[in-house]
């Protein structure tokens, strides 16, 4: 299904699952990611949003096979990533890269910035030795650092600068797809704005696809064209970012949207404050995983797990309120929300 609506996908993820097991005698298992599917078009940025512990970070690692998935399919540029052997995977690696949350621990503390950026060039012999220094300086300039940074060590840089170095090194490999895992969550807002606008610029220039993982809906709305909302290892709602922000359907998405902090005291908004906290993924609720905090909970929610259904235009939702055959519930929900 490489092209459903004539769009060619850079990345297709189908039914991705990861179960972590621990303990030798009494095995405990956690379904960190439980059957996730999404597609990312060429050059597009897909956002994955959810609260801590929902499994969004794991998804990023699974897609790149930094963690081995338990089940599922990851097709990158028509290559089935999970079927590759070690050697073939290594060959593919430069095309799929990742940017991490914590810039401070993303850089080898005993290597100079210049060497860090040159390492991928050396590793894959992407640039002849004579031109390497030039290429490094080019990359450094591109991410907005100064040539004198080449001889610095990571601990001499600020968080924002470190994240620029990470970006330069990733770009050195010329990737087609980048996972950005909360790339700015440890930075100040003004620096966050710097890094994200830099990412937008280089994405235009290098034309890569991006999986943008964040807990911050404000960023998702600015950075992505389509998005998925995760709760306890599952996608509960997905679709184009615009549509989800205009008309979120799932009660969880709605609550998340209403909790978006707005930097303006004048804007008064009806807030849906969710009660309780996310249950432990070790012991997830039966049926719909959100039912313990949901205001529209029905009997069915406690027993049966809702399937992800398509509401049209790629807007997918997993909620019994929207079970296709039961229009009555849909209407009832709308009414409740409007009040």
């Amino acid at each position: 299904m490489a092209s459903m609506r004539g769009v060619s996908f850079m990345l297709e993820v189908q039914g991705l699952k990861k179960t972590f097991t621990s303990g030798l005698v009494s095995k405990r298992s956690v379904k960190a990611v439980d059957g996730i599917s999404f597609n990312i078009a060429d050059g597009e940025t897909f956002g994955l949003v959810g609260e801590s512990g929902c499994g969004k970070t794991t998804v990023g690692r699974l897609v790149l096979r930094l963690i081995e998935p338990t089940e599922g399919k990851v097709i990158f540029n028509s290559i089935d990533v999970l079927k590759l052997n070690k050697k073939a995977l290594r060959k593919l690696r430069p095309q799929m890269q990742i940017i991490f949350q914590d810039p401070e621990s993303s850089l080898h503390p005993r290597m100079k910035i210049g060497d860090i950026i040159a390492e991928p060039l050396k590793l894959y012999n992407l640039v002849p030795k004579a031109n390497r220094e030039k290429k490094v300086l080019e990359l450094i300039d591109m991410v907005g650092l100064q040539p004198e940074h080449v001889n610095r060590f990571p601990h001499e840089l600020s968080g924002g600068q470190s994240q620029r170095v990470v970006l330069a090194r990733v770009l050195a490999l010329g990737p087609r797809f980048i996972v950005a895992d909360e790339p700015t969550s440890s930075l100040d807002v003004s620096v966050q704005a710097q890094i994200l606008s830099l990412m937008n610029t280089v994405q235009e220039e290098f034309h890569f696809s991006c999986l943008f993982i964040s807990h911050d809906l404000n960023l998702i709305s600015r950075m992505t064209s389509s998005m998925g909302v995760m709760y306890l290892g599952k996608i509960v709602e997905a679709g184009s970012t615009k549509e989800l922000f205009e008309e979120a359907r799932h009660p969880y998405t709605r609550a998340l949207m209403s909790a978006i902090p707005i930097a303006d005291p004048q804007t008064k908004r009806k807030k849906i404050v969710l009660e309780g906290e996310m249950p432990s993924p070790m012991n997830p609720p039966s049926g719909c995983r959100f039912h313990t905090r949901c205001r529209f909970k029905e009997k069915i929610c406690e027993k049966t797990e809702p399937q992800l259904i398509d509401l049209g235009e790629g807007h997918r939702i997993a909620c019994h309120l929207y079970a296709a055959e039961d229009k009555r519930l849909v209407i009832r929900h709308r009414v409740t929300v409007e009040i």
Binding site: R61, L66, R90, F100, S106, H108, R110, F153, V166
Partner: protein, 282 residues
């Protein structure tokens, strides 16, 4: 070389005790190397006429029960002790760090085996295990090395493993994997250099305790055998004359303490100089 390293160096050099320790160790090593030139007498020269002389200009540390010059034997003893202890530490640290990094990085069976081995072997006081090994193999210098090394590498393996475990969670390791670096490359270029600071501290402190162990075995008559000059066995020989010739016991013990003290001071200084957050010892 770098800002971080030079600042660590400054920090270390500011610590007067550590610098003193370093000087003492350098002096002892020089003495060990140049023993042939410095030592005033032949260590094995028995002169019964001269026996049990108290310290004098001729024999600054006196003579022993066979009339041998204590100072000369002390100098050659330095050589014995340093040869043995450096050999032990070199062997154990290399092997231990290797195993520790492999276990910590790959986890799995190797790690499980290492952990159980640590459980078992460190369930004895290490000197007891060394005694048992010597009990099996018989006394002697080689057996002393074997006995101490057989347990000693575990300390390095434990520290290397713990450090590796914390390093492998760092995002730069994941980044290297995402870049397509092989595991061997990552262990060598990424894990090892970041493992080294605590290992170097451990090596320094360990040199002190190895010297103590060697001396203890020597003292018990299980280590270096006479007539080889060795501090511990010299103490053992001098013990009988404790009442009348205390210098036979005072000087060798003083030397052992001085060497161990120096290594401890250097180790403490290094530990303080290196960012304490990187330390995983204890």
């Amino acid at each position: 070389m770098t800002l971080a390293k030079s600042r660590n160096m400054d920090e270390f050099l500011k610590n007067r005790a550590s610098v003193a320790g370093l000087i003492v160790i350098l002096m002892l090593i020089t003495a060990a190397i140049l023993a042939d030139f410095i030592a005033p007498y032949d260590t094995d020269k028995i002169a019964l006429k001269e026996k049990l002389k108290s310290p004098s200009w001729e024999h600054p540390m006196g003579t022993d029960q066979l009339g041998r010059d204590v100072l000369s034997r002390m100098i050659y003893g330095t050589r014995t002790t340093f040869e043995l202890s450096i050999l032990v530490v070199a062997l154990t640290s290399t092997f231990g760090v290797f195993i520790g990094i492999i276990a910590g990085y790959f986890r799995g069976v190797i790690d499980e085996i290492l952990m159980r081995l640590i459980d078992v072997l460190l369930a004895f006081p290490s000197i007891i295990l060394a005694l048992v090994i010597i009990g099996a193999l018989g006394p002697g210098m080689i057996n002393t090395i074997v006995a101490i090394s057989l347990v000693g590498w575990l300390f390095y393996a434990r520290v290397a493993r713990a450090t590796t475990l914390s390093i492998r969670e760092k995002e730069y390791i994941e980044g290297a994997r995402a870049m397509g670096c092989s595991d061997g490359y990552i262990c060598l270029r990424y894990v090892l250099p970041n493992c080294l600071p605590p290992i170097i501290v451990l090596m320094t402190l360990n040199l002190g305790s190895v010297i103590l162990s060697i001396a203890a075995l020597g003292y018990l008559g299980l280590g270096a055998q006479p007539p080889t000059p060795e501090w511990g066995s010299m103490l053992n020989e001098g013990r009988e004359y404790l009442r009348d010739c205390p210098w036979l016991c005072v000087f060798p013990g003083l030397m052992i303490m001085l060497a161990v003290l120096a290594f401890n001071f250097i180790g403490d200084g290094l530990r303080d100089a290196i960012d304490p957050r990187q330390m995983v010892i204890k």
